[in-house]
């Protein structure tokens, strides 16, 4: 399936190549570079490309291109999903996924890639299995290894590879047995100028950090599982139990993993935690404009809004901004035309305000597009959907584990859009 992999950095250097079948010359990447040139922005490179003899499927993340070369028909998502797994595995092993780290650990990277695919078909992609075969580098271990010549490579086949629960390694032992679950919710919303919700939904994810000895069998139940509209699970979750009882029953992998992701539908009215009063206007003459932003809490369920940040993509003509903020700091990047106002904690008594003047390129016409605002925020101890974990039970092991659940709400793709242009498409076709 996957013939070769090339890792390419931001500036277009190939710094790693790996072939699982016959070697394919790196000149095949020229077609990719051509497309990259054309796309200008790296995000805009089409993920699937065709060359005279091969197909190229690539992903772009962490400022790196993972480019795979394919020779025959294959579901493109299969390759894309796999490439993201590779990147995640690097992240998992080395703490970050960057050119430097990959170059520094090139041998481990190569050993990992060797185990992850056989003849281009995925072999071991579970972190728990791979870590038993190839141990992640630690400072202590690399010192010991250089002194003794011992290796990072395991000698026996990880038991996970053979059982029907490949995600868990065998013989796990901890002195402190603990299981933590983070319920993280993101609000995706589009608000119009008046603050009316055009579109809102909640994406949730439960990240788990489970460090339990032996072979624990866990059951996690919710107070209000009906909230969950659409879910996807880690393979460890028994789907049938969920279907019939709405509980999560699973033998967890060891360590960190994403237990489930869920979606809370727009039918349940989504609480919008903040409002933004804004006034950005440009004058016909004098090449200048005004900006006035005020932020205030709306539905926060009594919690404090933290990490508040507002980003504005200004029209190209805006040269500089001369503003004063009553709270926090603002920066205006002249190159990217991005105004960032970092507010921090939101104080309901004294609403933060940012106002001042914008100066435009002289002679430039009045910008026609009004900038949209992107909002970032964080609320601790709250899942905005109201989802609550009821209890966590453990079977199969005797000890009493320490259990913990944390809730966080964040802004996902949270935009305020100004719909205020002259209505040029008055719609007659009413439903």
């Amino acid at each position: 399936m996957i013939n070769s992999l090339f890792l390419i950095n931001h500036s277009g250097d190939i710094f790693l190549e790996k072939h699982w079948k016959s070697v394919i010359s790196r000149s095949v990447c020229d077609y990719f570079f051509e497309a990259k040139e054309k796309a200008v922005e790296p995000e805009n490179v089409p993920p699937v490309l065709q060359t005279p003899h091969h197909y190229l499927i690539s992903i772009y993340r962490d400022k790196l291109f993972f480019l795979s070369v394919i020779q025959t028909e294959v579901p493109p998502l299969f390759v894309i999903e796999f490439l993201h797994r590779v990147a995640e595995m690097f992240q998992d092993y080395f703490g970050e996924c960057s050119e430097m780290v990959i170059k520094d650990n090139v041998v481990i990277v190569y050993e990992l890639l060797e185990e992850m695919l056989d003849n281009g078909f995925p072999l071991a992609t579970e972190s728990n299995v791979l870590k038993e075969m190839i141990r992640p580098p630690t400072i202590l271990r690399s010192v010991v290894n250089t002194l003794t010549g011992s290796s990072n490579v395991g000698e026996t086949l990880p038991t996970g590879q053979l059982s029907t629960i490949p995600w868990r390694r065998a013989g796990v032992k901890y002195t402190n047995n603990e299981a933590y679950f983070d319920v993280i919710e993101e609000i995706d919303a589009i608000l119009d100028k008046s603050g009316t919700t055009v579109f809102a939904e909640i994406q949730g994810v439960i990240e788990a950090c489970v460090k339990l000895s032996g072979m624990p069998d866990l059951t996690l139940s919710f107070m209000n599982p009906r909230l969950l509209d659409d879910v996807s699970f880690h393979p460890c979750v028994r789907f049938k139990r969920w279907e019939s009882e709405r509980v999560l029953s699973f033998i967890p992998p060891d360590g960190n993993f994403t237990l489930m992701t869920y979606h809370v539908s727009a039918q349940n009215l989504v609480a919008i935690p903040v409002y933004v009063k804004q006034n950005i206007s440009f004058f016909e003459s004098g090449s200048c404009g005004r900006l006035d932003l005020t932020v205030g809490p709306k539905q926060t369920m009594g919690k404090t809004v933290e990490g508040m940040m507002i980003t504005v993509h200004m029209p190209k003509a805006v040269l500089s901004a001369n503003l004063t903020a009553t709270q926090g700091t603002y920066t205006y990047d002249l190159a990217t035309k991005v105004l960032v106002w970092d507010i921090g904690k939101l104080n309901p008594q004294k609403l933060p305000n940012l106002r001042g003047s914008l100066s435009l390129q002289s002679g430039a016409p009045k910008p026609e597009e009004n900038p949209s605002l992107n909002i970032d925020l964080k609320i601790q101890q709250l899942a905005i959907s109201g989802l609550k974990v009821n209890r966590l039970d453990m079977y199969g092991e005797k000890y009493k584990p320490f259990k913990g659940v944390k809730y966080v709400t964040k802004a996902g793709k949270f935009q305020v859009i100004r719909h205020d242009w002259t209505v040029f498409l008055a719609c007659k076709g009413k439903p």
Binding site: E43, E81, F121, G149, I165, R238, G396, L425, G429
Partner: protein
Amino acid sequence: FSGNSCDATSAPQHYTSLITTLKTNSGIFSVLRNEDLKEMLESSKESLKLEAMKRIVGLIAKGKNASELFPAVVKNVASKNIELKKLVYVYLVRYAEEQQDLALLSISTFQRALKDPNQLIRASALRVLSSIRVPIIVPIMMLAIKEAATDLSPYVRKTSAHAIQKLYSLDPEQKEQLIEVIEKLLKDKSTLVAGSVVMAFEEVCPDRIDLIHKNYRKLCNLLVDVEEWGQVVIISMLTRYARTQFTSPWKENNEKAFYDSEEEKKDQVEAKPYVMDPDHRLLLRNTKPLLQSRNTAVVMSVAQLYWHLAPKHEVSVVTKSLVRLLRSHREVQYIVLQNIATMSIQRKGMFEPYMKSFYVRSTDATHIKTLKLEILTNLANEANISTILREFQTYVKSQDKAFAAATIQAIGRCATNISEVTDTCLNGLVLLLSNRDETVVAESVVVIKKLLQMQPTQHCEIIKHMAKLFDNITVSMARASILWLIGEYCERVPKIAPDVLRKMAKSFTAEEDIVKLQTVNLAAKLYLTNSKQTKLLTQYILNLGKYDQNYDIRDRTRFIRQLIVPNEKSGALSKYARRILLAPKPAPVLESAFKDRDRFQLGTLSHSLNIKATGYLELSDWPAVAPDQSVRNVEVIEPVKEWAPSVGKAKPPKQDDKFYSDSGEDDHEEEEGEEGSESSSSEDSSSSSSDSSSSEGLSFCVCIWVNIPTFGPVKSHELLHHMTGKGLSARYHFPRQPCLYQPNMVAVQVTLTNGSDHSLEEIHIGDRSPASLNLHCFNTIERLEPEASVTVSMGIDFSDSTQAANFQLCTKDDQFSVSIQPAVGELLMPSSMTEQDFCKEQGKLLGMNETSATITLAAENSSSQSLSKQVLSVANVGVVSSSENNIHRFAGRTVSSGALVLVTAESRESSTALLTINTDKSIMASMLLRDLKQALAQA
């Protein structure tokens, strides 16, 4: 060599300092590298060799050529250091193709490793051996693959499935033999193997659909437990399979496609009501849970399966999951949106409720924006068009001008598709003509041109307006469009048209080719309708065109002149000039770019590129008549009956421990059982209609796809009689599988049956004795209905003794003391080894550790086959292949301590045999000998 043989003591220091130099200074590194690396590889220190190999792998990773080190590297292929060995493998696979002769030196090492008792080593030897692309070793590879395909370890069998594809690409001549191996592996019941062998099938012999029949139901049932990547491959194969084996569930399709006359249609529909094949249903039912997978490729593959196989009204179950994928990575969004674009053309309704998910965000990448726009346009209908148009207004103002242009195209498409909004859109677009951005204006002109063509009558105002704008528009496509419009409808704007032509005559030479062509066109049309005013202008333009640099324009000019200016040469054609040039033209149809993508299977590379990719397998049309359904029936495996509960409504027994998704399930067991019997009974009826003789025993056919240990029949023993258990009865057996919970435990399966007339609650395990007994309990069974039974699995650490494990089986109200006493043979696990190793190990276990006896064989057991069978039924050991006919060897290890137990049976004359057992567990040896003696003596 003189350099090499310098004093050995100083050498390591030299290297260490060298390494530090290398680490600090890569410049020196590149100069010195090959010689030094060679020296390091030839040194006696493992750590130096390893360091050298790491550097070499670093070179390979960078794409540098390290092939000249081949001889030095290949020497280390048999190294004891596992990391060193692995790195050598990496090197070998990379360069073997270039250095074929030298690569052959390593082959014997792999051949040896293929016989290693450690399955990881066997597997990795096969992996590397099959990756060495040297044609000369094809026969060796073939042999190795065949052997590995029957290996006891499923991991090795999986590796052999991968090796099949490698060998096939190296030498396609081997196809026939490889198909045999594939056929064998397809029968494998391990979830580990399933994905890999189906992959091999797809690569080697995708047309041999017949190989799938017998394995179809098994694959469907295993699917949930197969690893993610295997699921994708299996689902896509089963999609193809189903399209050849089942009839179409799309009724309306049949009607429209095949029958024209009303009566005929009615006849046909009434004559043959559609009934879905139970196997078809099985596939749909078993893939549905995978929509909840975290793996986007799995979700997409299920979605395409439903799209291509499910009845139309069921397809929408995939919508929500597809929309969920839109929150994944950008690249995933791209592929999913492409597929939704194709789907939304045929089935608007599926995605309309999720319209807002396709709203474009300013942060989206360009290709994502374009796809979302495409989908929104596909979804537009009378009801939602106002919302969509309002959304489009925002997009038109986007800073991304290419995207704004695409939006204008989309507005045009909405206008043509939905007649209610045509005027609104047209007016809106006309307003856009005064936009400051040229791309927007140009695109609007082009779209307006298309719209006007559909209903030109009322729109001379717009044409006038555009003529006014003409001077300010510089984009040639837009200028050409306006010229064409004025020419086409010149009679509606009789005053303006000649004036435009006058202007064009002035600027003709400076225009782009496409504008020149349209100018010639306009001139010709005006000449025909209004020759009084334009005759001279036209001739002037035709003269300019005649000497143009572009041959297309010269050609066109020549043609037009002959056509419109009658002379003796032009003949009859000029009479028709007006009808030719001013013929009413059909309006262009504004279509989706994804209109014809549905010719490809969704989710494929071909679909994504809209071009047939190499190796793309066509999805066949539904057969008009379903092929024989009975080909998928599988014979029942007998031993299952032995421990099937006799109570209740003949529920098919299930060995549920093998499959994770079923384990730990208590009350669902029943539900599933019913499902199973339901599907088998419906199948029963279908097969009895085709051939009634095979219907006997089919009610057990569900058992086939659960994993029956291949080692011999399973004996079940009574744990609790229903009389003593107040209705609760329990039987147990040893499934002879590695224990899930702890490797030193013996797996035990307990089947609990409620024979009483009320339901039993909270069945669990209570106190145990001895108290130190290490026992893995099953989860408490909350409720067991009357007549119902459930099978649960436990793990017991017997510590290699046959002492019984005593514990209490409790219900809510009662406690029953029960005990499990294992036969000594159950305390073993098979161990695979070669005859050589066997003899070597046996040599170490002589004297005190050897127990032997001569026994008399029953007549039935004198054949070697039945002798093996008897031994295997007594003890859970593995057969060691033997070169002598009269000697049988078996090897196993004790589960708890892993001590080796070797059994040799040498058949002698007059039906006697010498049994020898070598192990350091002498008590076990004598007990085992006793059991074996008994089993072999009786029939």
